[in-house]
Symmetry: C2
Subunit: 199 residues, 2 copies
């Protein structure tokens, strides 16, 4: 005998299928849903469907958007000569928060990772090469994460872009602003020394 | 400028409105939804609505059910002379897991908690008194949590049931089976001593 009614069990299973949510949390969330007003639950269900149905990848930069061309690609004030390559839409948000970068983006939607069976063809790399091949781009900034997979992906792409007349650069490594030297790891310290600049 | 498309922001907000899910986790969940097949997202949305619309409280024991009378209350093999009072539907599941208890349940849907503005009238206490008043019940087992609020609620209810010819009992306190005396807290040890039984 199943202990919760079937429709409740199904909802618990749905929550438990989300990443990082175990059986116990899924139960807690399902009970929370039952305690909500029906109109709120309806709004939640609609938000799920609407997001899924209305969000596409931008035709140019592959970032998530609800228009054919994303707001950044369609902004004439942005510098279309510079492309910043990131692995994830969240990285665009992080970079935009700085309000400094004026170029465009290219979202790979992942990194090359043999361990997780992600090959270059699974990423939006062909689309990047096609953008660069058009000839307008002058610089491609690699801004994948500073870990092994991010690094490998950045190198792979910069090698692919060699034939084109384009500068490829990498985000600087170093001590995070506001952090404490004492707690910096060795690899970061070495990179910070290597990358030292004159005042 | 909002950085994610509006429909995505709405979905992130919906996830963030769930208990225990912060802004970062909500983003992760929303991105996960975008990566799922549309049919799966549809199934999730339907599960939300269906659970909300089809789950009621059992007319008798107030446990969650999708029928007017829950499977336990409508099972003729259960002993209707004993009612076990719990604060939460999850506690019924925990007790049923033991496959030992043969009586019925009564779910309070909370505990008396002045701190959280939960008064006795907010709980299913009147419904319990009405069941006992019918005269068929011989024993009411208080199985609220062994904390201050659970204890207060159990005492409050047992006082309410005094006028009726019914035995009220409390789950035994003591050392959990399989645990280590060394790590038991003082209060539990004292209760275990108090409640000691002859072999």
């Amino acid at each position: 005998m199943s202990l919760f009614p079937p429709t409740l069990e199904i909802l618990i299973d749905k929550f438990a299928s989300l990443p990082g949510i175990g059986k116990k949390s899924a139960q807690r969330l399902a009970f929370h849903i039952l305690a909500r007003d029906e109109s709120e639950v309806k709004a939640f269900a609609e938000a799920l469907l609407l997001a899924k149905q209305s969000i596409y990848r931008c035709r140019v930069c592959q970032n998530l958007t609800d228009t054919e061309l994303c707001p950044i690609c369609s902004d004439p004030r942005r510098d279309s000569k510079v492309i910043c390559v990131v692995s994830d839409p969240k990285d665009v948000v992080a970079l935009e928060r700085g309000r400094e970068y004026q170029g465009l983006y290219h979202v790979l939607h992942g990194v090359i990772s043999p361990m997780n069976h992600v090959a270059p063809d699974d990423l939006m790399i062909k689309e990047l090469v096609a953008r660069v091949a058009e000839g307008e781009v002058e610089e491609v900034i690699m801004a994948t994460n500073p870990d092994t997979e991010g690094e490998t992906t950045a190198r792979y792409i910069s090698r692919l872009l060699k034939p084109f007349d384009v500068k490829t650069t990498r985000l600087a490594y170093g001590i995070p602003v506001g952090s404490n030297l004492e707690y910096a790891d060795d690899a970061t310290l070495m990179r910070a020394l290597e990358g030292r600049r004159e005042f």
